[in-house]
Subunit: 322 residues, 2 copies
């Protein structure tokens, strides 16, 4: 469960003394934070504590993390010259602390617990660079796609190339699985996804094929699934907006599905959480390719007890362990 | 095209002298602004200049319009006492200027141009009241739904009742059609829509049935359409995330569809706009129940020439006029 840490008091205690970036860039801290949900909640995998914005400075795009807003880029990329100035990420030189944290995490996770590395997907990362911050409309992105498609494609090529290097470094450092976060891709029409995004998502999965299992995360993707199923990931993450059986019927029997409990459900009392978790398990119907998870990150204010009981409940009900 | 006004220089000229609320509450100004897109762009209908937050103060929920944020409610509704204190809207007493503006608009629109009234849908309005402002996660809303469902249902009942009174007043004032804006409903799972929202949307459409044509607007609703088709609106609005033929196959031949051009497409050069408009027209395939429109409001920074050429192009290509 992504961002499960921030619901935990032991995370908030560390967070009082260190900034998020400091924690992500200090291997001992990143390892400690990554282990917190494993120890407290008993989840089956540890996801590296980091952020999709971590590789931006190495690509020549510095940013500030603004409380309550997220990464804010002082000089968003808006034209061909901006994109031409992008550097190709060199993970060993630009963010050695990520591989180091992954190795540390691998050494410390309990037996049977997998370590998941991740990166932002080309669309979500490129959108950050172009919008400069989170967006509702993606106006700058869509303007660039239609007014200056060459620049958009050039940007996506470079971001994909950096993402491949970044994920390869994480696989080499021992990640047992890799997750590509396309948190914002649900803003696109199927046509725009196919034309402006899909070739680069496919390039990333193609390049990583055969290393470790690959997970494609997105939200609001109900109408993109027929395209995403061909992108090369072994696991597709879906959110609560689509029924799990419907997603499965679109994706076919050969792909695994991660999801799809609404993290908002965890704000309710335990009886409501259990009820909704059971609904997910019923829809998954014991399929071997189901990874029980939330459809998005844990929300601030979530009761850690609900998280712990949820993990225990899913284990007890016999969901497939990944 | 909703919010087409704000792309026009004549709107911005008025806006420099008056606040949005002042314009919405002054019938002559609301009429003038509502007519701007009709005169400049040649659209087939005028939508009343107003905001879904307009009825909030009459219901006992005052707010401020914050530039770049939208309505911000000082005291969001979080418990049974907050909800019990809600007033039932009395349109004639609370917002007489809306009916007055509608009558003025009816008198001034060119022959053949219809006037559309509107209100926020119960979910979107109730979410505003509970969250206090726009939200990404709807954490407070989902917490209330699951932790205190009686209060949520009571809130929805009261909001629906007020919305019915508000829309009835607009129909009586001469609106030729009524649109219910459920801009945020795409945040919900089908189950939560069915349980916590649908009964109230249905109540609104049921109460208005037989007055004027009813349009149900939402975004990100691909997986909610099988439910929404039974809610009682004659027209369902869909956004660019779903292909029009797919939406039609879910909604069936007896409902009309409004949509579904991405307003982001209008930020591109005219050739790209035309290309994407033609794609919508091809998918509509001349069906009599198609109302060509955008999937959401016009984005700030849209070139008014693109809007005018789009209207002319759609008329020329022979799309059905509503």
């Amino acid at each position: 469960m992504r961002q499960a840490g921030r619901a935990l008091p032991e995370y908030r205690a560390l967070r009082e003394r260190h900034s998020m970036l400091e924690m992500a860039r200090t291997p001992e801290l990143a390892v400690a934070v990554s282990l917190q949900p494993v120890r407290r909640l008993g989840v089956d995998a540890a996801i590296l504590f980091s952020d999709i914005s971590t590789p931006l400075p190495g690509m020549g795009v510095p940013f500030d993390l603004v409380e309550g807003v997220g990464p804010v880029i002082a000089h968003p990329l808006r034209n061909a010259a901006d994109v031409a100035a992008l550097r190709l990420l060199e993970p060993a030189a630009d963010l050695p602390y990520v591989a180091e944290a992954l190795r540390g995490l691998k050494a410390e996770v309990p037996p049977g617990v997998d370590v998941i590395g991740f990166a932002g997907a080309p669309f979500t990362l490129a959108s950050y660079m172009v919008e400069g911050r989170g967006s509702r409309d993606f106006a700058h992105v869509k303007r660039m796609m239609l007014s200056d498609p060459d620049t958009w494609h050039q940007l996506m090529r470079r971001v994909a190339e950096s993402t491949i290097a970044y994920l390869r470094a994480q696989a080499a450092a021992g990640a047992d699985a890799l997750q590509l976060f396309d948190s914002w891709v649900g803003a696109l029409s199927p046509r725009d996804y196919a034309e402006f995004v899909q070739p680069y998502t496919q390039a990333v999965f193609q390049a990583l094929k055969g290393t470790v299992p690959l997970i494609h995360f997105g939200t609001g993707t109900a109408t993109l699934l027929p395209l995403m199923r061909r992108d090369g990931a072994e696991v597709i993450s879906v959110d609560w907006r689509i029924n799990l059986n419907e997603a499965w019927s679109v994706l076919g029997p050969n792909l695994a599905i991660q999801g799809n409990l609404d993290p908002g459900a965890l704000l309710g009392p335990w009886a409501a959480v259990r009820d909704r978790a059971d609904e997910v398990l019923r829809a998954a119907a014991g399929r071997p390719g189901h990874i029980f998870n939330l459809g998005h990150g844990v929300l601030p204010g979530t009761d850690p007890d609900n998280l712990a009981r949820l993990v225990a409940h899913v284990h007890e009900k016999g969901a497939t362990r990944p």
